[in-house]
Symmetry: D2
């Protein structure tokens, strides 16, 4: 299967930069949230409709590796990739670059879990969610 | 009546400072939230118990005037003052200084509104809330 | 003179919403920063080039009035308006609406000051900055 | 060697909680920053003096594992542990609990790098920094 990948663009804001003049490390996780939200929307799965169906997706674990700094006003491309059809969990991998440049500034991943809000319990991804991923992962 | 005033201390964090090397302006509003929360707790009114009673307090308006910059690792004193017994609204005034210094770095205010969560409507402050303020405003 | 107005669009993120299910009040100020940055860029004045010329623009004062809540995943339109050619200070007014809707969710303003970074002193807006505003304010 | 561990207390703020009513995952990294800053200060090494000596410490990598949610107004204890005398890098491990409770809410680590600001290059931790850690790691 080919991973499903989505490119999200973000302009670095002044409030995101620290006294070193570079993006403070935690903001990459905000970029990751925006990237996966738009990746899911493009797949036909707005997160909002999942919540309306009684499903929430808390974060289980995450990791980030920082290689090169990003600066104020940089236009970043955050690529969110899904390699597998989700089970109870779904893992999204991320790569951050400047728009039009090959150098990787940061990589990372975030694992989310499907949780039934009524029973407060982890559940497998619903059939229609799995179907959307199955389709996206075979079609490049 | 003498205003009820409460001093909240906050150490400036790296993530709160921008490329100018000073606290980015929006973080003062985070300091204000922490200051009013602790001021209300000291008064005998943890915000959490209000929510448990079906009351939320959205922000209606706010303003901040910035006079002098705060720097990384500064220990700030944020003074939250309540001048009146709350009606449907409560206004809190703020002054920010460095610990042990007289110079005022910033001033501001935030107005909150009492809202009944079941009926989604503004309501007057409950009697026990008014009573706590009446007591605090006469006793200096 | 007709004010120079610029519309900036922002999708509300999960991290921006609080337990009331609405956008936490401080994030409007982040939206204002993004809106004025893009408004200045559209005017031919990227803030980054000002900094490269030895000018910074700290915030002097701000105010926000909240009328109606914004929710998760709303697509907001933040209108940034400049009514006057800047002197030592420049005031930007803001209005927040949902995309395609007339109802105003919030209004506000932020006043910035031109500061020479070498002498650490307020200065009048440079001639080329004034010229850009003069042109934008006469041409609707 | 026994790790050097430091307990930092933090009261969960409203702005840190999301529509699920729990602390949004990125804020744990803010808690980690505050915890390591105070841990270093207690060791006799305020980060501010490192910067004054021409050293900055960018984040190289990080990871967080989330086990149980934290709620609004919880008083959290964030334990920052240093297991080794720093070389070019220093790794800090974190555990988050509620004050007075044994259950672990989250674990994680952040790796920082010592960088010479004049030459923009990684350098080994200065001798006086190593000495402070050597002392702290033998004395329990």
């Amino acid at each position: 299967m080919t991973p499903y990948a989505y490119d999200y663009r973000h302009r670095v804001r002044y409030r995101e930069c620290d006294p070193m003049g570079v993006v403070y490390h935690t903001h990459y996780l905000d970029y990751f949230e925006a990237a996966r939200t738009e990746a899911l929307r493009a797949l036909g799965l707005p997160y909002k409709t999942l919540e309306a169906d009684g499903i929430i997706m808390p974060v289980v674990d995450l990791a980030v590796q920082y290689r090169l700094p990003a600066h104020y006003d940089d236009l970043l491309v955050i690529t969110a990739s899904f390699a597998d059809v989700p089970g109870v969990r779904v893992r999204i991998d991320y790569t951050v670059r400047r728009d039009g440049e090959a150098a990787v500034l940061a990589t990372g991943h975030v694992t989310l879990c499907f949780v039934d809000t009524r029973r407060h319990r982890p559940i497998p991804a619903p059939a229609h969610v799995r179907a959307l991923f199955e389709q996206a992962l075979v079609e490049p």
